[in-house]
Subunit: 300 residues, 2 copies
């Protein structure tokens, strides 16, 4: 790891486009320590959100129009659901100052490069990023300054991205407490499909399945949830629009991982139906290896 840069602010003006859980956490860190930006500007879809942001005191200035918000910024961070990126990029592109770095926090990286990349004007840098952190809560009240502490942030700069811009975004995330790694965008999307997107899809789905049961059984799902079901529901509380966008924007990798999972589940179903104890036990044992590795890596 290189020596930390001096702790003067990295940027003169950081603009957060969208200020939910991630955006408002970055805002809190930036406002508290002033090591990331001398000025923090927030823009959001609704005036109500911006009013709340100013009430919380987590930005120096709020601006409803995204184009006007980004004027004069040296760093613009997209923190909206990834499905909104194309329209946002179109709205801000004409207002971006030369030398500005555009970055983001989205959970899908190929889609961001596809949707935002072509709209970035010459002389503006583009460094896609994904802080792998979150909770099941959303909105500007949900953020907190320690969210990124000890968590990974993955950068997926397209080939030819300016080294100094990549280093600046790396330093931004280090100052948020993250460990930073660079990854190839397609590889990022595959890895996140299995560790995050598929588990969320499964969690939403089993909640849906339970919700669809007849009245009495449905009540009992709630009553006896502690016996396993409850563990699945925490992540199912996450923001629907954000997850809808992630699923639609990581389609190929998510469908591939889901197909593998469905094959494995069908094999288990078949073993249960025809009574193959050896197959079931082996499958369970193989899966336990992962859990053991997590325990050894102290990830639990």
């Amino acid at each position: 790891m290189p020596e930390p840069l001096s702790q003067r602010p990295l940027f003169k003006r950081l603009v957060l486009v969208g200020i939910g859980l991630i955006g408002s956490s970055v805002a809190r860190i930036a406002m508290e320590k002033r090591e990331i930006a001398a000025e923090v500007v927030a823009t959001a879809r609704t005036q109500a959100t911006l009013d709340r942001v100013m009430q919380l005191g987590i930005a120096d200035r709020a601006e409803l129009d995204p184009g006007r918000a980004v004027e004069g910024a040296d760093c613009v961070m997209l923190c909206a659901p990834v499905g909104a990126y194309a329209a946002l990029a179109e709205a801000i592109a004409p207002h971006l100052a030369p030398g500005c770095i555009v970055t983001d926090v989205g959970s899908t990286k190929q889609s961001v490069i596809r949707d935002v990349g072509p709209l970035i004007p010459a002389g503006v840098h583009f460094v896609p990023a994904h802080p792998v952190a979150g909770t099941e809560y959303s909105g500007p009240d949900a953020g907190f300054a320690t969210l990124f502490q000890g968590r990974w942030c993955l950068l997926t700069p397209p080939p030819g991205t300016d080294d100094a811009a990549v280093e600046a975004i790396t330093e931004l995330w280090r100052r948020c407490g993250s460990m930073v790694e660079t990854m190839e965008p397609a590889h990022h999307d595959r890895v996140l499909a299995i560790v995050s997107h598929l588990p969320h899809l499964i969690a939403f789905t089993i909640c849906n399945t339970a919700e669809g049961l007849e009245g009495e059984s449905r009540q009992e799902v709630l009553k006896f949830s502690a016996s396993g079901f409850r563990d699945f529901t925490r992540i199912a509380a996450s923001d629907p629009v954000m997850w809808r966008d992630i699923f639609l924007n990581n389609r190929e990798a998510l469908l591939e991982m889901l197909a593998r999972f469905m094959e494995d589940a069908q094999a288990m179903a078949r073993a249960v139906r025809w009574g193959d104890p050896g197959f079931i036990e082996d499958s369970i044992e193989r899966g336990r290896v992962i859990r053991q590795s997590l325990i050894e890596l102290k990830q639990v």
Copy 2:
């Protein structure tokens, strides 16, 4: 709720047949407070387990032969994996004293009634039970005296079961700290299929799917597990033989719930493939209702 019985021991001699997480928790409670039994006898498949039990001081006496173990008992509790019940019932049946109550702690209740019921001698009572409590750990070291505190215990007595026997087992579980409810066996198996058996099957399966990925991605599953995957792995650490037996002994209900889940997952896959944002968002929203209800019921 009726007045509690006097706190003299409920039974003269309680025999625990199998002494893993559940059995050793009951043993600890019985030995600590002496309100459940004047004498606690343990029997298990191996002498090593019984040696450990005596070392831990959680039984008055250990006996390797299950037939000899149950002699003179007024309560026998089967605490082995449900797949072992038929053979165990056959081994103990000739040795059961008249008036003895046979009960169990298995997670599947129709199978227990099918496997054990016909082997119970005349004059011996049979009260199937399921304490809905557990952790991902197993073995005699894993038990603890507060495991059942505030948790449900479901009794599924077959029609015609002696009322006094049902009341005695009810009182046993109350003295373990549980809330007791009686349920129809088939209904029990359906409810547990959705709240416990299906979540475990899914957790084992997704761990298996991840374990099957190529080397590099597999390492990254571990590295980035905090982004959702980790929540699924805790319950996947549970005992393979116990779960194998549960799956095979609740086949119909489990396969039905799995089929419903697979249909719902396929519908999500289809919406992702063909790009149906409304369907995805609605599905997520419907599932969130369950989570909201859990929060309102303070079950999280």
